[in-house]
Protein backbone atom coordinates (compact mmCIF):
# COMPACT_ATOMS: atom_id res chain seq x y z
CA UNK A 1 0.00 0.00 0.00
CA UNK A 2 1.44 3.35 -1.03
CA UNK A 3 1.01 5.82 1.70
CA UNK A 4 2.18 9.35 2.09
CA UNK A 5 1.65 10.82 5.50
CA UNK A 6 1.47 14.51 6.16
CA UNK A 7 0.81 16.25 9.40
CA UNK A 8 -0.60 19.67 9.98
CA UNK A 9 1.63 20.07 12.98
CA UNK A 10 3.80 23.06 13.66
CA UNK A 11 7.49 22.77 14.47
CA UNK A 12 6.81 22.98 18.23
CA UNK A 13 8.43 20.15 20.18
CA UNK A 14 5.73 17.61 21.02
CA UNK A 15 6.38 18.01 24.74
CA UNK A 16 5.37 21.67 24.65
CA UNK A 17 2.32 21.33 22.46
CA UNK A 18 -0.91 22.45 24.12
CA UNK A 19 -2.43 18.97 23.84
CA UNK A 20 0.68 17.31 25.34
CA UNK A 21 0.56 19.71 28.29
CA UNK A 22 -3.16 18.99 28.75
CA UNK A 23 -2.38 15.26 28.62
CA UNK A 24 0.22 15.67 31.37
CA UNK A 25 -2.26 17.84 33.27
CA UNK A 26 -4.80 14.99 33.36
CA UNK A 27 -2.08 12.63 34.57
CA UNK A 28 -1.03 15.14 37.25
CA UNK A 29 -4.67 15.42 38.35
CA UNK A 30 -4.77 11.65 38.94
CA UNK A 31 -1.47 11.71 40.84
CA UNK A 32 -2.56 14.62 43.08
CA UNK A 33 -5.97 13.02 43.63
CA UNK A 34 -4.31 9.74 44.60
CA UNK A 35 -1.95 11.46 47.04
CA UNK A 36 -4.86 13.37 48.59
CA UNK A 37 -6.87 10.14 49.05
CA UNK A 38 -3.86 8.44 50.66
CA UNK A 39 -3.34 11.43 52.97
CA UNK A 40 -6.95 11.03 54.18
CA UNK A 41 -6.48 7.29 54.84
CA UNK A 42 -3.79 4.98 53.46
CA UNK A 43 -6.40 2.20 53.17
CA UNK A 44 -7.79 4.08 50.17
CA UNK A 45 -4.98 2.38 48.28
CA UNK A 46 -7.51 -0.44 47.75
CA UNK A 47 -9.75 1.96 45.81
CA UNK A 48 -6.82 3.63 44.06
CA UNK A 49 -5.74 0.29 42.59
CA UNK A 50 -9.00 0.37 40.64
CA UNK A 51 -8.21 3.96 39.52
CA UNK A 52 -4.68 3.12 38.38
CA UNK A 53 -5.65 -0.05 36.54
CA UNK A 54 -8.56 1.84 34.99
CA UNK A 55 -6.13 4.53 33.84
CA UNK A 56 -3.87 1.88 32.29
CA UNK A 57 -6.86 0.19 30.60
CA UNK A 58 -7.92 3.56 29.19
CA UNK A 59 -4.43 4.28 27.84
CA UNK A 60 -4.32 0.91 26.08
CA UNK A 61 -7.92 0.93 24.87
CA UNK A 62 -7.38 4.29 23.15
CA UNK A 63 -3.94 3.29 21.85
CA UNK A 64 -5.29 0.10 20.27
CA UNK A 65 -8.73 1.54 19.33
CA UNK A 66 -9.74 -1.48 21.35
CA UNK A 67 -13.51 -1.75 21.35
CA UNK A 68 -15.09 -5.17 21.63
CA UNK A 69 -18.24 -3.90 19.91
CA UNK A 70 -16.32 -3.69 16.68
CA UNK A 71 -15.02 -7.24 17.24
CA UNK A 72 -18.41 -8.64 16.32
CA UNK A 73 -19.95 -5.68 14.48
CA UNK A 74 -17.17 -5.02 11.95
CA UNK A 75 -17.04 -8.70 11.01
CA UNK A 76 -20.60 -8.51 9.72
CA UNK A 77 -20.72 -4.84 8.70
CA UNK A 78 -17.46 -4.46 6.77
CA UNK A 79 -15.85 -7.93 7.03
CA UNK A 80 -12.88 -6.66 9.05
CA UNK A 81 -11.53 -9.15 11.65
CA UNK A 82 -9.01 -6.72 13.24
CA UNK A 83 -10.74 -6.28 16.58
CA UNK A 84 -11.96 -9.87 16.85
CA UNK A 85 -8.31 -10.92 16.54
CA UNK A 86 -7.24 -8.35 19.14
CA UNK A 87 -9.91 -9.59 21.52
CA UNK A 88 -8.74 -13.19 21.14
CA UNK A 89 -5.12 -12.17 21.81
CA UNK A 90 -6.27 -10.42 25.00
CA UNK A 91 -8.30 -13.47 26.08
CA UNK A 92 -5.29 -15.78 25.62
CA UNK A 93 -2.94 -13.52 27.59
CA UNK A 94 -5.47 -12.85 30.37
CA UNK A 95 -6.10 -16.61 30.66
CA UNK A 96 -2.39 -17.36 31.10
CA UNK A 97 -1.93 -14.66 33.76
CA UNK A 98 -5.21 -15.68 35.45
CA UNK A 99 -3.90 -19.25 35.73
CA UNK A 100 -0.78 -18.00 37.52
CA UNK A 101 -2.88 -15.82 39.82
CA UNK A 102 -5.25 -18.72 40.62
CA UNK A 103 -2.31 -21.06 41.28
CA UNK A 104 -0.83 -18.46 43.64
CA UNK A 105 -4.10 -18.42 45.61
CA UNK A 106 -5.00 -14.76 44.99
CA UNK A 107 -7.82 -15.14 42.48
CA UNK A 108 -10.88 -12.98 43.12
CA UNK A 109 -12.99 -14.67 40.44
CA UNK A 110 -16.48 -16.16 40.90
CA UNK A 111 -18.21 -17.98 37.99
CA UNK A 112 -21.57 -16.80 36.66
CA UNK A 113 -24.72 -18.90 36.93
CA UNK A 114 -25.25 -20.76 33.65
CA UNK A 115 -28.66 -20.53 32.00
CA UNK A 116 -30.74 -19.23 29.10
CA UNK A 117 -30.59 -15.72 30.52
CA UNK A 118 -26.96 -15.43 29.43
CA UNK A 119 -27.61 -15.97 25.73
CA UNK A 120 -30.72 -13.75 25.82
CA UNK A 121 -28.91 -10.97 27.72
CA UNK A 122 -25.93 -11.30 25.36
CA UNK A 123 -28.20 -10.96 22.32
CA UNK A 124 -29.91 -7.81 23.64
CA UNK A 125 -26.51 -6.37 24.56
CA UNK A 126 -25.05 -7.33 21.16
CA UNK A 127 -27.95 -5.67 19.34
CA UNK A 128 -27.47 -2.49 21.36
CA UNK A 129 -23.72 -2.13 20.74
CA UNK A 130 -24.21 -1.88 16.98
CA UNK A 131 -26.12 1.37 17.48
CA UNK A 132 -24.02 2.99 20.21
CA UNK A 133 -20.70 2.78 18.43
CA UNK A 134 -18.99 1.13 21.35
CA UNK A 135 -19.20 -1.58 23.98
CA UNK A 136 -19.29 -0.70 27.67
CA UNK A 137 -15.55 -0.05 27.99
CA UNK A 138 -15.37 1.22 24.40
CA UNK A 139 -17.88 3.93 25.27
CA UNK A 140 -15.75 4.91 28.27
CA UNK A 141 -12.57 5.28 26.23
CA UNK A 142 -14.39 7.16 23.47
CA UNK A 143 -15.82 9.51 26.12
CA UNK A 144 -12.16 10.15 26.98
CA UNK A 145 -11.59 11.17 23.35
CA UNK A 146 -14.22 13.89 23.82
CA UNK A 147 -17.09 11.97 22.25
CA UNK A 148 -20.27 13.24 23.91
CA UNK A 149 -22.27 10.57 22.15
CA UNK A 150 -20.39 7.99 24.21
CA UNK A 151 -21.13 10.00 27.35
CA UNK A 152 -24.83 9.70 26.49
CA UNK A 153 -24.33 5.93 26.09
CA UNK A 154 -22.81 5.74 29.59
CA UNK A 155 -25.75 7.70 31.01
CA UNK A 156 -28.21 5.40 29.23
CA UNK A 157 -26.42 2.26 30.48
CA UNK A 158 -26.38 3.64 34.04
CA UNK A 159 -30.02 4.63 34.32
CA UNK A 160 -31.50 1.78 32.27
CA UNK A 161 -29.83 -0.74 34.56
CA UNK A 162 -30.89 1.07 37.71
CA UNK A 163 -34.48 1.23 36.45
CA UNK A 164 -34.53 -2.39 35.24
CA UNK A 165 -33.27 -3.87 38.51
CA UNK A 166 -35.72 -1.90 40.65
CA UNK A 167 -38.80 -1.75 38.41
CA UNK A 168 -42.06 -3.20 39.69
CA UNK A 169 -45.78 -2.93 38.88
CA UNK A 170 -46.60 -4.15 35.36
CA UNK A 171 -43.01 -5.35 34.95
CA UNK A 172 -43.79 -8.14 37.45
CA UNK A 173 -46.22 -9.70 34.96
CA UNK A 174 -43.23 -10.40 32.66
CA UNK A 175 -41.94 -13.25 34.83
CA UNK A 176 -43.46 -16.74 34.95
CA UNK A 177 -45.43 -17.90 37.98
CA UNK A 178 -42.86 -20.64 38.66
CA UNK A 179 -40.19 -18.00 39.38
CA UNK A 180 -42.57 -16.16 41.70
CA UNK A 181 -43.33 -19.43 43.53
CA UNK A 182 -39.64 -20.22 43.83
CA UNK A 183 -38.89 -16.70 45.14
CA UNK A 184 -41.81 -16.90 47.58
CA UNK A 185 -40.42 -20.16 49.00
CA UNK A 186 -37.18 -18.31 49.87
CA UNK A 187 -38.84 -15.15 51.19
CA UNK A 188 -39.00 -16.39 54.78
CA UNK A 189 -35.20 -16.67 54.91
CA UNK A 190 -34.61 -13.20 53.49
CA UNK A 191 -34.80 -9.78 55.21
CA UNK A 192 -38.34 -8.47 54.93
CA UNK A 193 -37.27 -5.07 53.59
CA UNK A 194 -35.98 -6.69 50.39
CA UNK A 195 -39.50 -7.83 49.38
CA UNK A 196 -38.06 -10.44 47.02
CA UNK A 197 -41.48 -11.35 45.60
CA UNK A 198 -41.98 -7.75 44.41
CA UNK A 199 -40.08 -6.32 41.47
CA UNK A 200 -39.51 -8.42 38.35
CA UNK A 201 -35.72 -8.43 38.67
CA UNK A 202 -35.90 -9.56 42.29
CA UNK A 203 -38.22 -12.42 41.25
CA UNK A 204 -35.88 -13.23 38.33
CA UNK A 205 -32.90 -13.26 40.70
CA UNK A 206 -34.43 -15.14 43.62
CA UNK A 207 -36.76 -17.41 41.64
CA UNK A 208 -34.50 -18.25 38.70
CA UNK A 209 -30.83 -17.25 39.07
CA UNK A 210 -30.46 -18.55 42.64
CA UNK A 211 -31.67 -21.98 41.47
CA UNK A 212 -28.88 -22.15 38.88
CA UNK A 213 -25.28 -23.17 39.37
CA UNK A 214 -22.13 -21.51 38.12
CA UNK A 215 -18.94 -23.51 37.73
CA UNK A 216 -15.53 -23.28 36.20
CA UNK A 217 -14.63 -26.25 33.99
CA UNK A 218 -12.23 -27.50 36.67
CA UNK A 219 -15.04 -27.37 39.25
CA UNK A 220 -17.33 -29.36 36.94
CA UNK A 221 -14.71 -32.15 36.87
CA UNK A 222 -13.96 -31.84 40.59
CA UNK A 223 -10.44 -30.59 39.94
CA UNK A 224 -10.72 -26.94 41.04
CA UNK A 225 -8.02 -27.30 43.67
CA UNK A 226 -5.49 -29.02 41.42
CA UNK A 227 -2.89 -27.47 39.14
CA UNK A 228 -4.00 -29.82 36.35
CA UNK A 229 -7.59 -28.63 36.66
CA UNK A 230 -6.59 -24.96 36.64
CA UNK A 231 -4.05 -25.17 33.81
CA UNK A 232 -5.49 -27.90 31.56
CA UNK A 233 -9.25 -27.52 32.08
CA UNK A 234 -9.66 -23.83 32.91
CA UNK A 235 -6.88 -22.24 30.91
CA UNK A 236 -6.27 -24.55 27.97
CA UNK A 237 -9.65 -26.20 27.38
CA UNK A 238 -11.87 -23.23 28.27
CA UNK A 239 -9.77 -20.35 26.92
CA UNK A 240 -6.73 -21.16 24.76
CA UNK A 241 -8.29 -23.93 22.64
CA UNK A 242 -11.44 -21.96 21.73
CA UNK A 243 -9.26 -18.89 21.02
CA UNK A 244 -7.14 -20.98 18.63
CA UNK A 245 -10.21 -22.34 16.86
CA UNK A 246 -11.76 -18.88 16.54
CA UNK A 247 -8.51 -17.43 15.14
CA UNK A 248 -8.41 -20.24 12.53
CA UNK A 249 -12.05 -19.53 11.59
CA UNK A 250 -11.39 -15.77 11.36
CA UNK A 251 -8.40 -16.45 9.10
CA UNK A 252 -10.32 -18.89 6.89
CA UNK A 253 -13.42 -16.74 6.42
CA UNK A 254 -12.16 -13.15 6.64
CA UNK A 255 -8.42 -12.92 5.91
CA UNK A 256 -7.11 -15.88 3.88
CA UNK A 257 -8.45 -14.86 0.48
CA UNK A 258 -6.93 -11.37 0.61
CA UNK A 259 -3.68 -12.67 2.06
CA UNK A 260 -3.19 -15.25 -0.70
CA UNK A 261 -3.97 -12.62 -3.35
CA UNK A 262 -1.48 -10.15 -1.89
CA UNK A 263 1.19 -12.85 -1.52
CA UNK A 264 0.52 -14.18 -5.04
CA UNK A 265 -0.10 -17.71 -3.76
CA UNK A 266 -2.40 -20.17 -5.49
CA UNK A 267 -1.34 -23.42 -3.80
CA UNK A 268 -0.30 -22.39 -0.27
CA UNK A 269 1.65 -24.76 1.95
CA UNK A 270 1.01 -25.12 5.68
CA UNK A 271 3.82 -22.68 6.42
CA UNK A 272 2.18 -20.15 4.04
CA UNK A 273 -1.08 -20.55 5.96
CA UNK A 274 0.71 -20.11 9.29
CA UNK A 275 2.45 -17.02 7.92
CA UNK A 276 -1.01 -15.77 6.91
CA UNK A 277 -2.33 -16.34 10.42
CA UNK A 278 0.63 -14.42 11.84
CA UNK A 279 0.06 -11.60 9.34
CA UNK A 280 -3.58 -11.43 10.44
CA UNK A 281 -2.63 -11.26 14.12
CA UNK A 282 -0.08 -8.49 13.50
CA UNK A 283 -1.92 -6.58 10.76
CA UNK A 284 -2.85 -3.90 13.28
CA UNK A 285 0.14 -3.64 15.60
CA UNK A 286 -1.61 -1.12 17.86
CA UNK A 287 -4.53 -3.49 18.40
CA UNK A 288 -2.29 -6.52 18.94
CA UNK A 289 -0.07 -4.66 21.42
CA UNK A 290 -3.13 -3.34 23.27
CA UNK A 291 -4.53 -6.89 23.38
CA UNK A 292 -1.31 -8.20 24.91
CA UNK A 293 -1.13 -5.33 27.41
CA UNK A 294 -4.79 -5.52 28.43
CA UNK A 295 -4.61 -9.30 28.85
CA UNK A 296 -1.62 -9.08 31.16
CA UNK A 297 -2.95 -6.07 33.09
CA UNK A 298 -6.37 -7.66 33.63
CA UNK A 299 -4.69 -10.68 35.23
CA UNK A 300 -2.37 -8.51 37.32
CA UNK A 301 -5.32 -6.43 38.51
CA UNK A 302 -6.87 -9.56 40.00
CA UNK A 303 -3.57 -10.43 41.68
CA UNK A 304 -3.01 -7.00 43.22
CA UNK A 305 -6.57 -6.83 44.59
CA UNK A 306 -6.21 -10.38 45.93
CA UNK A 307 -2.98 -9.46 47.71
CA UNK A 308 -4.59 -6.33 49.23
CA UNK A 309 -7.60 -8.34 50.45
CA UNK A 310 -5.18 -10.75 52.07
CA UNK A 311 -3.21 -7.86 53.59
CA UNK A 312 -6.30 -6.18 55.09
CA UNK A 313 -7.99 -9.49 55.97
CA UNK A 314 -11.15 -8.66 54.03
CA UNK A 315 -13.32 -10.28 51.38
CA UNK A 316 -15.00 -7.09 50.20
CA UNK A 317 -14.31 -3.34 50.11
CA UNK A 318 -17.43 -2.80 52.23
CA UNK A 319 -15.53 -4.16 55.27
CA UNK A 320 -12.77 -1.62 54.68
CA UNK A 321 -15.31 1.20 54.27
CA UNK A 322 -16.86 0.31 57.66
CA UNK A 323 -13.41 0.18 59.26
CA UNK A 324 -12.70 3.66 57.83
CA UNK A 325 -16.01 4.97 59.22
CA UNK A 326 -18.07 5.11 56.02
CA UNK A 327 -21.33 3.26 56.65
CA UNK A 328 -23.69 4.78 54.08
CA UNK A 329 -24.75 2.95 50.95
CA UNK A 330 -23.65 -0.50 52.06
CA UNK A 331 -25.80 -3.54 51.35
CA UNK A 332 -27.55 -5.45 54.12
CA UNK A 333 -24.49 -7.73 54.18
CA UNK A 334 -22.29 -4.62 54.64
CA UNK A 335 -20.81 -5.17 51.19
CA UNK A 336 -20.48 -3.08 48.06
CA UNK A 337 -19.82 -4.09 44.48
CA UNK A 338 -16.15 -5.06 44.43
CA UNK A 339 -15.30 -7.64 41.75
CA UNK A 340 -11.55 -7.32 42.12
CA UNK A 341 -11.08 -7.37 38.37
CA UNK A 342 -12.02 -5.51 35.19
CA UNK A 343 -15.77 -4.96 35.18
CA UNK A 344 -17.89 -2.14 33.81
CA UNK A 345 -21.65 -2.25 33.99
CA UNK A 346 -22.58 -2.85 37.65
CA UNK A 347 -20.76 0.24 38.91
CA UNK A 348 -22.51 2.29 36.24
CA UNK A 349 -25.85 0.88 37.46
CA UNK A 350 -24.83 2.08 40.92
CA UNK A 351 -24.23 5.61 39.60
CA UNK A 352 -27.75 5.69 38.15
CA UNK A 353 -29.24 4.04 41.23
CA UNK A 354 -27.45 6.46 43.58
CA UNK A 355 -28.78 9.51 41.70
CA UNK A 356 -32.31 8.05 41.79
CA UNK A 357 -31.92 7.39 45.51
CA UNK A 358 -30.88 11.04 46.08
CA UNK A 359 -34.05 12.32 44.43
CA UNK A 360 -36.19 10.14 46.66
CA UNK A 361 -36.67 6.93 44.66
CA UNK A 362 -36.04 4.06 47.08
CA UNK A 363 -33.72 1.50 45.46
CA UNK A 364 -32.24 -0.31 48.46
CA UNK A 365 -35.28 -2.63 48.71
CA UNK A 366 -33.98 -4.51 45.66
CA UNK A 367 -31.78 -7.59 45.72
CA UNK A 368 -29.38 -6.03 43.23
CA UNK A 369 -28.62 -2.96 45.34
CA UNK A 370 -29.94 -3.81 48.80
CA UNK A 371 -28.53 -7.32 49.16
CA UNK A 372 -25.67 -7.61 46.70
CA UNK A 373 -24.01 -4.41 45.54
CA UNK A 374 -25.04 -1.51 47.77
CA UNK A 375 -25.40 2.07 46.61
CA UNK A 376 -22.25 3.84 47.77
CA UNK A 377 -21.59 7.51 47.18
CA UNK A 378 -19.79 7.70 43.79
CA UNK A 379 -16.81 9.21 45.66
CA UNK A 380 -16.48 5.88 47.54
CA UNK A 381 -17.36 3.58 44.64
CA UNK A 382 -14.12 1.69 43.95
CA UNK A 383 -15.05 0.04 40.61
CA UNK A 384 -16.75 3.31 39.65
CA UNK A 385 -13.34 4.91 39.86
CA UNK A 386 -12.03 2.23 37.50
CA UNK A 387 -14.55 3.45 34.91
CA UNK A 388 -13.52 7.06 35.55
CA UNK A 389 -9.89 5.93 35.30
CA UNK A 390 -10.60 4.48 31.85
CA UNK A 391 -12.05 7.82 30.70
CA UNK A 392 -9.05 9.73 32.08
CA UNK A 393 -6.50 7.23 30.71
CA UNK A 394 -8.06 7.48 27.26
CA UNK A 395 -8.03 11.28 27.54
CA UNK A 396 -4.31 11.22 28.43
CA UNK A 397 -3.55 9.07 25.37
CA UNK A 398 -5.90 10.92 22.99
CA UNK A 399 -4.48 14.31 24.03
CA UNK A 400 -0.90 13.05 23.70
CA UNK A 401 -1.69 11.78 20.18
CA UNK A 402 -3.65 14.96 19.32
CA UNK A 403 -6.78 12.95 18.70
CA UNK A 404 -8.90 14.55 21.42
CA UNK A 405 -11.84 16.48 20.01
CA UNK A 406 -15.14 17.48 21.58
CA UNK A 407 -17.78 15.86 19.41
CA UNK A 408 -21.40 16.90 19.84
CA UNK A 409 -24.07 14.34 18.99
CA UNK A 410 -26.63 14.91 16.26
CA UNK A 411 -30.29 14.04 16.84
CA UNK A 412 -29.71 10.76 14.98
CA UNK A 413 -26.60 9.68 16.89
CA UNK A 414 -28.08 10.85 20.22
CA UNK A 415 -31.17 8.74 19.57
CA UNK A 416 -29.00 5.72 18.76
CA UNK A 417 -26.86 6.33 21.86
CA UNK A 418 -29.87 6.46 24.20
CA UNK A 419 -31.80 3.54 22.66
CA UNK A 420 -28.66 1.41 22.13
CA UNK A 421 -27.29 2.26 25.58
CA UNK A 422 -30.63 1.36 27.18
CA UNK A 423 -30.61 -2.02 25.40
CA UNK A 424 -27.00 -2.55 26.52
CA UNK A 425 -28.05 -1.86 30.11
CA UNK A 426 -31.01 -4.25 29.93
CA UNK A 427 -28.91 -6.95 28.23
CA UNK A 428 -26.08 -6.56 30.73
CA UNK A 429 -28.38 -7.08 33.71
CA UNK A 430 -30.20 -10.07 32.22
CA UNK A 431 -26.90 -11.60 31.03
CA UNK A 432 -25.14 -10.81 34.35
CA UNK A 433 -22.55 -8.49 32.82
CA UNK A 434 -21.26 -6.97 29.64
CA UNK A 435 -18.63 -8.10 27.16
CA UNK A 436 -16.06 -7.60 29.94
CA UNK A 437 -17.75 -9.00 33.05
CA UNK A 438 -19.82 -11.71 31.36
CA UNK A 439 -17.34 -12.69 28.64
CA UNK A 440 -13.76 -11.46 29.00
CA UNK A 441 -13.42 -12.03 32.75
CA UNK A 442 -15.24 -15.37 32.68
CA UNK A 443 -13.72 -17.43 29.86
CA UNK A 444 -10.23 -16.39 30.94
CA UNK A 445 -10.88 -17.79 34.41
CA UNK A 446 -12.25 -21.11 33.22
CA UNK A 447 -15.96 -20.23 33.29
CA UNK A 448 -17.52 -21.45 30.01
CA UNK A 449 -20.63 -19.25 30.48
CA UNK A 450 -18.69 -16.44 28.80
CA UNK A 451 -18.70 -18.29 25.48
CA UNK A 452 -22.49 -18.60 25.78
CA UNK A 453 -22.65 -14.82 26.31
CA UNK A 454 -20.46 -14.34 23.22
CA UNK A 455 -22.77 -16.54 21.13
CA UNK A 456 -25.71 -14.37 22.23
CA UNK A 457 -23.71 -11.21 21.54
CA UNK A 458 -22.82 -12.42 18.03
CA UNK A 459 -26.46 -13.26 17.25
CA UNK A 460 -27.61 -9.87 18.56
CA UNK A 461 -24.88 -8.00 16.67
CA UNK A 462 -25.73 -9.83 13.42
CA UNK A 463 -29.39 -8.80 13.71
CA UNK A 464 -28.26 -5.31 14.76
CA UNK A 465 -26.07 -4.93 11.66
CA UNK A 466 -28.99 -5.98 9.44
CA UNK A 467 -31.24 -3.40 11.15
CA UNK A 468 -28.54 -0.72 11.03
CA UNK A 469 -27.86 -1.36 7.32
CA UNK A 470 -31.57 -0.98 6.60
CA UNK A 471 -31.61 2.32 8.50
CA UNK A 472 -28.50 3.55 6.68
CA UNK A 473 -29.96 2.71 3.27
CA UNK A 474 -33.19 4.46 4.16
CA UNK A 475 -31.55 7.60 5.56
CA UNK A 476 -29.01 7.76 2.67
CA UNK A 477 -31.89 7.65 0.18
CA UNK A 478 -33.29 10.78 1.85
CA UNK A 479 -29.91 12.56 2.07
CA UNK A 480 -29.64 15.85 0.23
CA UNK A 481 -26.04 15.24 -0.88
CA UNK A 482 -25.28 15.82 -4.51
CA UNK A 483 -24.66 12.10 -4.92
CA UNK A 484 -26.65 9.54 -3.01
CA UNK A 485 -24.97 6.55 -1.44
Amino acid sequence: MNMASASASTATHWLFRKSSLQSMGVLLFVIIGSLWALSVDTRFVYMLVYVWFGLAYGLLLQYGRFCMASAVRDLFAVKVPRMAVGMMIAVALYAVVAAIVTLSGFSTFHPNAMGWHIVIGGAIFGFGIVFTGGCASGSLYKAGEGNMNSMLVILAISFSQAIVVTATGWWDSLVPQSWLDSAAAKAADMPEELTITKGWFDIFTAGYIWDLKGHTTAEIFGMAETATGIVVLNTFLTAILPVGLILIALYAFYYRKGHLRRAGLTAPSLSDELAGMWAMCTSSKNTALAGIGLGILAGLHMYVTGVLRDHYGIFNFGELLVAMGYNNGLSIQETVFDPGYWYITTQEAQWGGWVMQQVGIENMDSIFFGLDNGLPNPLLNAPGFMSIGIILGAAVMALARREFKWKLPSWETAFFAIVGGTLMGIGARIGMGCNIGAFFATVTNGDPSGWVFLVGMVIGAWIGVKAFTWWMEWSASRNSSECGL
Binding site: M1, N2, M3, A4, S5, A6, S7, A8, Q62, R65, C67, A69, S70, R73, D74, A77, V78, K79, V80, P81, R82, M83, V130, G133, G134, G138, K142, E145, G146, N147, N149, S150, Y255, G258, R261, R262, S283, S284, T287, A398, R402, E403, F404, K405, K407, L408, P409, S410, T413, V465, F468, M472, A476, N479, S480, S481, E482, C483, G484, L485
Partner: protein
Protein backbone atom coordinates in the same frame (compact mmCIF):
# COMPACT_ATOMS: atom_id res chain seq x y z
CA UNK B 1 -23.98 17.67 10.96
CA UNK B 2 -24.86 15.17 8.30
CA UNK B 3 -23.02 12.81 6.05
CA UNK B 4 -22.17 14.30 2.66
CA UNK B 5 -20.94 12.50 -0.46
CA UNK B 6 -20.12 14.62 -3.50
CA UNK B 7 -18.22 14.49 -6.76
CA UNK B 8 -15.57 17.23 -6.58
CA UNK B 9 -13.80 16.69 -9.94
CA UNK B 10 -13.40 14.10 -12.66
CA UNK B 11 -12.66 10.79 -10.96
CA UNK B 12 -12.57 12.53 -7.53
CA UNK B 13 -15.14 12.20 -4.79
CA UNK B 14 -15.47 13.47 -1.23
CA UNK B 15 -17.15 11.76 1.69
CA UNK B 16 -17.52 13.73 4.93
CA UNK B 17 -18.65 11.73 7.96
CA UNK B 18 -17.40 14.05 10.72
CA UNK B 19 -19.44 13.80 13.89
CA UNK B 20 -20.29 10.16 13.32
CA UNK B 21 -19.02 7.41 15.58
CA UNK B 22 -18.69 3.69 14.74
CA UNK B 23 -19.97 2.06 12.66
CA UNK B 24 -21.17 4.93 10.41
CA UNK B 25 -17.78 6.06 9.01
CA UNK B 26 -16.57 2.61 7.93
CA UNK B 27 -19.96 1.57 6.56
CA UNK B 28 -20.40 4.81 4.58
CA UNK B 29 -16.82 4.46 3.30
CA UNK B 30 -17.51 0.93 2.15
CA UNK B 31 -20.63 2.06 0.31
CA UNK B 32 -18.86 5.07 -1.21
CA UNK B 33 -15.99 2.92 -2.50
CA UNK B 34 -18.52 0.58 -4.10
CA UNK B 35 -19.85 3.58 -6.07
CA UNK B 36 -16.44 4.57 -7.41
CA UNK B 37 -14.82 3.27 -10.61
CA UNK B 38 -11.38 1.68 -10.51
CA UNK B 39 -8.73 4.44 -10.31
CA UNK B 40 -11.11 7.02 -8.80
CA UNK B 41 -9.92 8.85 -5.69
CA UNK B 42 -12.06 9.26 -2.58
CA UNK B 43 -11.25 12.04 -0.10
CA UNK B 44 -12.57 10.85 3.22
CA UNK B 45 -13.05 13.22 6.17
CA UNK B 46 -13.82 11.71 9.58
CA UNK B 47 -13.14 12.35 13.28
CA UNK B 48 -13.73 8.99 14.92
CA UNK B 49 -10.21 7.56 15.39
CA UNK B 50 -11.22 3.90 15.75
CA UNK B 51 -12.99 3.92 12.37
CA UNK B 52 -9.59 4.61 10.79
CA UNK B 53 -8.30 1.19 11.87
CA UNK B 54 -11.26 -0.57 10.25
CA UNK B 55 -10.99 1.53 7.08
CA UNK B 56 -7.26 0.71 6.85
CA UNK B 57 -8.06 -3.01 7.13
CA UNK B 58 -10.82 -2.65 4.49
CA UNK B 59 -8.40 -0.97 2.07
CA UNK B 60 -5.81 -3.64 2.75
CA UNK B 61 -8.28 -6.45 2.07
CA UNK B 62 -9.62 -4.86 -1.14
CA UNK B 63 -6.24 -3.72 -2.42
CA UNK B 64 -7.22 0.00 -2.39
CA UNK B 65 -4.35 2.47 -1.93
CA UNK B 66 -4.29 4.97 0.90
CA UNK B 67 -2.35 7.64 -0.97
CA UNK B 68 -2.43 10.49 1.53
CA UNK B 69 -3.37 10.97 5.14
CA UNK B 70 -3.57 14.25 7.00
CA UNK B 71 -4.43 14.56 10.67
CA UNK B 72 -5.32 17.81 12.33
CA UNK B 73 -6.87 18.50 15.73
CA UNK B 74 -8.70 15.20 15.96
CA UNK B 75 -9.93 15.24 12.34
CA UNK B 76 -8.59 12.92 9.66
CA UNK B 77 -8.47 13.55 5.91
CA UNK B 78 -7.54 10.44 3.92
CA UNK B 79 -7.28 10.00 0.17
CA UNK B 80 -8.01 6.50 -1.10
CA UNK B 81 -7.52 5.35 -4.69
CA UNK B 82 -9.82 2.50 -5.62
CA UNK B 83 -8.06 -0.57 -7.02
Amino acid sequence: MAMSFNKIADCEWKLDVCGYTCPHPQMYTKKALQKLESGDVLTLVFDNPSSGESILAMCDAEGNDLIERTENGGSFIWKIRKA
